[in-house]
Amino acid sequence: MAYSDKVIDHYNNPRNVGALPKEDPTVGTGLVGAPECGDVMKLQIKVNQETEIIEDAKFKTFGCGSAIASSSLATEWVKGKTLAEALEIKNTDIVKELSLPPVKIHCSVLAEDAIKAAIGDWKKKHDDNGK
């Protein structure tokens, strides 16, 4: 299978690999996919409570090169964005940036889901703290 140069670059030099403390109230964690499907993404964001700006993002992905690249790119894109801006990221933007072939579109969908899940987790913590 031929991968685009950008996919190969992210695969060889993945950005923001790692983990943030899950229990930290400023951290939101999204875990999407399933091992049987061959893709699992964990994307974490560290959010400034005041400004709602994503100050840091980390990921770990089990999956093909395109899945690794999609999640690596997602962490790059969400950093510095507000939660509202990050929610605007669409899987089609990822497909375009990485030139993903049709059979790999599900990787970009999973990356979008991971962003939404991480933001959802942060908001849940935030709402719980507010109670």
């Binding site: 690999v17 875990l31 399933a34 770990k60 992905t61 090169g65 059979v103 939404k116």
Partner: protein
């Protein structure tokens, strides 16, 4: 420095031995005759070359040269053996026994016969890939005409108890065919010692040319008859019509001769390299699993799963090494190998399996390079793997509720 890319997929095919090419060259040029031409020197030379090839191939498996039927390759040999016996002995019975880990050339041929009204028993294998001899005994009925069990498996390299299977078949008056494509030339294989009636062979798996194969057909005790699947000029004792592939047969013969002469030394060397690769990977990486029995295995075969690493990304990381993956990624769906499934390997591990096939021309430097490369990539991908992280935290991945649709 090793030369890249490294070819370590010798179960798929092997590079041709230069000595084989040398033997073949004259038959591409000046000696182009048809082995069936009886009236001139060109034909006689071709026939002589074919008969020499026949002797060399027969010698590899301890057969009489008259028992060798040349074909286009092992897929044709498998088809001829199974369909040919089924059609010839249909009045005697309609039952064939084979096994779930056979090559598609056997499985699909059996399924074809099933549609014609034959009954097929597909024997299971155990977790090591072995057929249970009791299962075989119980499966044989008065209507059974053929047992077809491969000698060595092409994916996991597991070697079946061929001698005992042949003995059981013979005692019960059933013909025994074995697909010996991966075994002949790699391990000692003798049709008489192993009670084999029909055996499929291929040239390109033993450093010969593609497009040349053979079927061993026993002539005595019992004399095996086959209904041909290709009709025509009555070549090869009427069992396989068609102008003989003289060049291919010359190459096949030379390859068989080299394999026979070098087998003891070569198989010891393959085993040494395979064991070096295996022990290095096992020492440096945790949670790696060998698929199939380790001892009853072809010397050059290693089939290993690397837990928590996705197969396609692993292959992407070792793209300067030609190996084979147990997971065939077709379009968006991942289809794990049916052989690994039959061994009871879970889908998660089947997807992360790699088949290493070490061959005559692999060097120790190449084995070292491959081992280091695989270790680096597996470690790197595990650093990236949320599953490895969770497993290290003591989370049972099977207990996690995975949201497939987030």
């Amino acid at each position: 420095m090793v030369k890249l890319p490294i070819y370590m997929d010798n179960h798929a095919t092997t590079p041709m031995d230069p000595r084989v090419l040398d033997a073949m060259m004259p038959f591409f040029t000046n000696q182009f005759g048809n082995a069936a031409s009886r009236n001139h020197k060109f034909g006689w030379e071709a026939e002589e070359a074919v008969e020499e090839g026949r002797k060399q191939v027969a010698a590899l498996i301890g057969a009489d040269p008259r028992e060798i039927v040349f074909t286009s390759g092992a897929t044709e040999s498998d088809n001829l053996a199974v369909k040919g016996a089924a059609w010839m002995y249909r009045e005697k019975g309609d039952h064939i026994i084979t096994c779930v880990t056979e090559h598609k050339a056997i499985l699909d041929t059996c399924k074809h016969l099933e549609k014609e009204g034959f009954r097929i028993t597909f024997l299971p294998v155990d977790g090591k890939g072995m057929v249970d001899l009791d299962d075989l005994c119980k499966a044989i009925t008065a209507k059974t005409i053929l047992v077809s069990i491969m000698t060595a498996n092409n994916e996991v390299g597991v070697i079946q108890e061929i001698k005992q299977i042949g003995q059981i078949a013979r005692e019960r008056g059933v013909l025994f065919h074995t697909d010996a494509v991966q075994a002949a030339g790699k391990i000692p294989f003798n049709v008489n010692e192993m009670n084999v009636d029909l055996a499929s062979l291929s040239a390109h798996k033993i450093y010969g040319p593609k497009g040349a194969g053979a079927l061993y057909v026993r002539r005595r005790n019992p004399r095996v008859l086959l209904t041909p699947i290709i009709d025509g000029g009555g070549h090869e004792r009427g069992m396989r019509s068609g102008t003989l592939n003289v060049t291919g047969i010359v190459g096949f013969g030379k390859a068989a001769q080299i394999a026979r002469e070098e087998l003891p030394r070569e198989s010891a060397e393959m085993l040494r390299l395979r064991e070096k690769l295996r022990t290095t990977l096992e020492r440096e990486l945790d949670e790696v699993y060998i698929n199939g029995d380790l001892d009853k295995r072809l010397p050059g075969n290693l089939n290993m799963s690397f837990a928590y690493v996705e197969g396609e990304s692993l292959l992407m990381g070792i793209n300067d090494i030609a190996v084979s993956s147990g997971s065939a990624c077709t379009s968006a769906s991942l289809e794990p190998s049916y052989v690994l499934k039959a061994l009871g390997v879970g889908e998660d591990l089947a997807h992360t399996s790699i088949r290493f096939g070490i061959g005559r021309f692999n060097t120790e430097e190449e084995v070292d390079y491959v081992a280091n490369r695989v270790i680096d990539v597996v470690r790197r991908l595990r650093e990236l793997s949320p599953l490895y992280e969770m497993a290290k935290e003591g989370i049972d991945l099977k207990s996690v509720h995975w949201a497939t649709e987030a």
